[in-house]
């Protein structure tokens, strides 16, 4: 578990992860819908707890279907989202570019734009949108010192317990957020539609499943050792 704080300024065994949610919200335009513009949709990447991702992400590039004008849309500041109107569902490639001290390689996400409800018989309503979101976590396995220092107290970032004896340089004071446009999505107009992702349920599910499987394994192992024992006995009685 020992780590080396070498001149490279990279830490081992300390990983930073950013929980994110990405997906789309799509509203049917109802009366105002035309043949080619039946829905108004927004595709986005947000912090899982709606915190500001701008601390890590420098810009997000959304690659739309080639039928759109200028299909490569770059968003230079949070919230990282893009709104459009259209009629078709297609795959959107989202490329995340990070700040220089975070990572020099971008990361790709893929989201299939969903406009129409799963249930085909369900009527489309202009009030209730179709929402599809995916939860994931961006992992930086070997973050640099400066990155760590900058984000150590930021709510968007998950840090593990730091090793004993490890001291971080003093945190860089966060800029006065009132001067900049808000990057977090807590009060976002679409926030009411955002899904909640809680790991607790899944953990419970998994724990229960594991218990079951472990019980099965134990039972089988007992049976096998019984059979082996019986075989041993038979063998020893048959020998002269």
């Amino acid at each position: 578990m020992a780590f080396v704080q070498n001149l490279n300024k990279k830490l081992k065994d300390v990983e930073i992860s950013i929980p994110i949610v990405y997906g789309n919200v799509a509203f049917w335009l109802g009366k105002k819908a035309s043949e080619y513009q039946s829905h108004k949709w927004t595709v986005y990447v947000r912090g899982a707890t709606n915190e500001d991702l701008g601390v890590v992400i420098k810009r997000a590039v959304f690659q739309l279907h080639s039928s759109f004008n200028n299909p490569t849309r770059a968003v230079e500041s949070p919230p990282f989202e893009l709104s459009e109107s259209g009629w078709g569902e297609f795959e959107i490639a989202i490329t995340l570019y990070f700040h220089a001290d975070v990572c020099d390689k971008p990361l790709n996400l893929y989201h299939h734009l969903k406009l129409y409800p799963e249930d085909e018989s369900g009527s489309m309503s202009t009030k209730k949108p179709v929402v599809v979101e995916s939860y994931d976590e961006i992992v930086f396995p070997e973050p640099s010192d400066s990155f760590l220092a900058r984000v150590q107290n930021h709510p968007a970032v998950t840090l593990p317990r730091l090793p004993v004896g490890f001291t971080l340089p003093p945190p860089v004071p966060i800029e006065d957020t009132s001067k900049r446009k808000r990057g977090d999505t807590k009060d976002h107009p679409l926030a009411q539609w955002f899904m909640n992702f809680s790991e607790a349920d899944e953990l419970l599910q998994l724990a229960a499943a594991r218990q079951q499987v472990q019980a099965h394994i134990a039972k089988l192992k007992r049976q096998i050792s019984l059979i082996d024992g019986q075989q041993q006995q038979l063998r020893s009685t048959s020998d002269p």
């Binding site: 971008p106 790991e199 953990l203 998994l206 499943a209 594991r210 499987v213």
Partner: protein, 369 residues
Amino acid sequence: MDAKDILGIPKTQLPTTQEKKSRPQKEPQRKPDGISREVYALTGGLAPLMPSIDVSQLKKRPPSDEKITWQWLPFTNSARKDNLQLYHWVRVVNGVPPTGDYSFAKYNKSVDVVKYTDEEYEKYLTDPMWTKEETDQLFELCERFDLRFIVIADRFPSSRTVEELKDRYYVSRAILIARAPSPTDVSGHPLVKDPYNVSQEVERKRALSMVLSQTKHQERKDAEVLAEAKRITDSRMASRAAEEPEMPVASHVGSESADRAVVLGDTVSPSSNIQLPSATVVPSTSIIADSASTLASLRMLRVYLRTYALEQMVQAASSSAGLRTIKRVEQALQELGVNLKPKVPTKAVCAEHLELRKEILTLLNLQKQ
């Protein structure tokens, strides 16, 4: 209907040219008015089918002055050691049979095996591992079998490996060098130019047999590893060359295969530089090796998604399992009410998910017993 024409025209062509003149005059007359000229030509009417050859015009072979007869004569073969006499047909010209050796005798080639005298043996060739008799036998077999060591090894009275015999044979090299008045004279000789390295040969043959006897599974794995290593080194070159990220490359950036080997430590894993007996890897250690190598390669990425990491680890854990087993694991997961891909893939959830999968695999393996 036109058979007469076909036959008639060539016939009339043979004799004199006078008739040739009259023939073209005949043709326009013959042409029927009913059908067109082209159609008539199609049926082979007017034009001859083939340029006919005037036999008499062909060049005659000049009458040769010689008289050729064929005779049934005996012959001997200088390639043979006995005096067997056989018979065959011989082309006799003007009563003189051909001279010279049997034409196939020149193909009886043999190898020049060095012959040593007893003195030379005493001086140069004594060896604790070999008796003189054995060495003599070896050389005699070499000559008999034209240095075909596989056969020689088979015929050799005491069991020696092919490499040992070859090695011993190469002592004749020493004789050549000794006999030669000066080293430069003999350096062109093939025996002297390429000496025989026993240990290297043994090693080489062992490695070759291992490569040839690899199972398909091992071959596939080797190919995968090599392709992976190549991709990693290639993308590493690319990332070195690029100043800024133009192409999004989210995965497979980073180390050479050497780093992976270092991380793996003692686990046996095929690398492109070392030829290890990878065919002898036990399945359970290979799972651990795969997981460890996956972890290492993940760590080499600067950034990755948790779902991607989970996918890689799942693949690594089930790398030794067949498709059917993987399907059964997924079935078991569904029966237990667990999502095949976690909806909330946090670090803890992914870890639990992976452990669950491994436990299911263990259970399935136990059930097979």
